[in-house]
Structures are given as C-alpha cells and as structure tokens.
Amino acid sequence: MTLQILLAVSAVLFAFGLVAALTRRNAIMVLIGIELMMGAGNLNFIAFWRFSAHPEALTGILFAIFSIAVAAAEAAVGLAIIILVHRRIKSANVDDANQLKG
C-alpha cells in the first residue's frame, strides 16, 4: 500500500462531495456534500501523518481532531440556518432562498 492509493481515495471522496454540493437541490444535501469533503480532508491529514517521516509529532492527528470539531460546529450552525430558512420560506430548496437577489 502506498500513499497514492489513500490520496486517490480521498480525491474521489472529495469529488463525490463536490458533486453533491454543486448539483443537489436540497440544502441538506449540499451540507452532506460539504461533510463528505471535510471527511476527505481528514483522510488526507491522517494519510500524510501515517506516511510522514516524523509520525511521533502527531501533527496530522491533532489537525484531524480540530478539523472534526470545526466540522461539527459547522454542521450544527448550518442545519440551524437551514431549519430557520425553512421556517421562513417553507422550503429547504437552495434555489428558493433568493430574497437577497438584486
């Protein structure tokens, strides 16, 4: 097993997340896509840590932990916003939230 495989897996995961975030109509699906991309980022952290010359510094691990914490905060706030928007415009569709359009 080489680093290539892990990075390729992570790239594919990122692409899936990006496609979901770009094409899906429901805001929650967009959020799911973003979470997938975050997961890909974390996989990269861990992969580079595993293959690094100084794994005992644990840098990748700590970065991944912080990244997970940030992702959790982002999900909480993002979903709260989606629920609030839904309450306002009765839709969770990203296309319908266009009140700020000039």
Partner: protein
C-alpha cells in the same frame, strides 16, 4: 505462552492491515457515491452515516485510533443525527413534491466540474514523487500523548475550538429558537 500469543497477534495484524484499509475505503466510496446520488434524503443521510463509519474504520486501521473513534462519536453520534433531524423537520414541503433532486442549474455542469477536479487531483497524485512513499512501520499514537499535546503546544487552538463550539452551540440555539412574535 504469553510470548506465543503476542507473536500471534503481531503476525495477524501485519497480515490484515492493508485489507483493513482498502476494504473500508471501498465501502466508504460506494456509500459516499450513494449519499451524493440517492433521491431519497433519508437514504442519502443513512449512506452518509455508513460512509462516516467506514472512514472511521480506515482511520483506526491506519493507526489513528483516537481520531477514528472521535470520528465515529462526532459524526455518527451527533452530525448524522442532526442531519436526520433536520430532514424530518424540513420534510413536508420537500420530500413529496420535488420534481427533480437537482438544483435549477442542472446536474451536468456540476458533475463536469467535479470530474475535472478529480482528474486534475489524480493527475497530481499519480505524478507526484511524494505520493510514492512506501509504508513506514506503524507509528503509535498513544492517547496520553495526544492529551499532553492538546494541553501543551496546542493549548491555544484548543481554547479557540472551545470558544468556537460554544459559539456554535449558542448560535445554533438562537438561530433555531422559535420567534416570539411571528
């Protein structure tokens, strides 16, 4: 006797670690693809959960046991449940009447963008000499050391993350609070 069992354990671990990474990776990618593509939101969320679980297993198999468990705890225990809650709370207008699962721009451009990015990334990954590093011996990441680092060198980021999470908690509560005057 004890040494015999220990030797056994070490042997078994080396033999299966590569497959312990690759098989969950495959599962994770399949689940992620399903999560991105499925029309039914709940199914998508459940596939996302499966993908997170598989990702956690990949982390554990790569030796980052703590991160893997945190990943499971945070994503499966909290984020997935939040998403599911949000889906159920926003369901009535959306699950039934959606004409197309895709946004108004249509899927083609998005998929093309994603594919383009994937091709670019893969080209880099497969041409880079860094990525050809062979697998070094398994590092150890003892929890105690992670804790020491978090409370030592990384104390400031830790505090900042604490503030961030508190702010997110309060912010989410305030955002989702019922309006007193409708």
């Amino acid at each position: 006797m004890n040494e015999f069992l220990q030797r056994l354990n070490a042997l078994s671990w080396d033999a299966c670690s590569q497959w312990l990474v690759l098989i969950p990776s495959g599962v994770m990618l399949l689940a992620a693809a399903a999560a991105a593509a499925l029309r039914n939101l709940i199914h998508a969320a459940l596939c996302l959960t499966l993908s997170f679980i598989a990702l956690g297993i990949v982390f554990i198999a790569l030796g980052a046991e703590f991160v893997g468990l945190v990943q499971l705890l945070v994503y499966v225990g909290a984020v997935a449940m939040l998403i599911v809650f949000a889906i159920l709370l926003t369901r009535p207008s959306d699950l039934a009447g959606a004409k197309s699962p895709f946004a108004g721009l249509g899927p083609v451009g998005g998929i093309l963008t994603g594919a383009g990015l994937l091709v670019a990334l893969l080209a880099f990954i497969f041409s880079s000499p860094v990525a050809k590093t062979a697998l070094p011996p398994a590092p150890v990441a003892p929890v105690a050391k992670i804790g020491e680092l978090l409370m030592g060198s990384y104390i400031v980021p830790l505090q900042v993350v604490g503030v961030l999470l508190t702010a997110a908690l309060i912010g989410a509560a305030v955002l989702a609070m019922e309006d007193k005057q409708p």
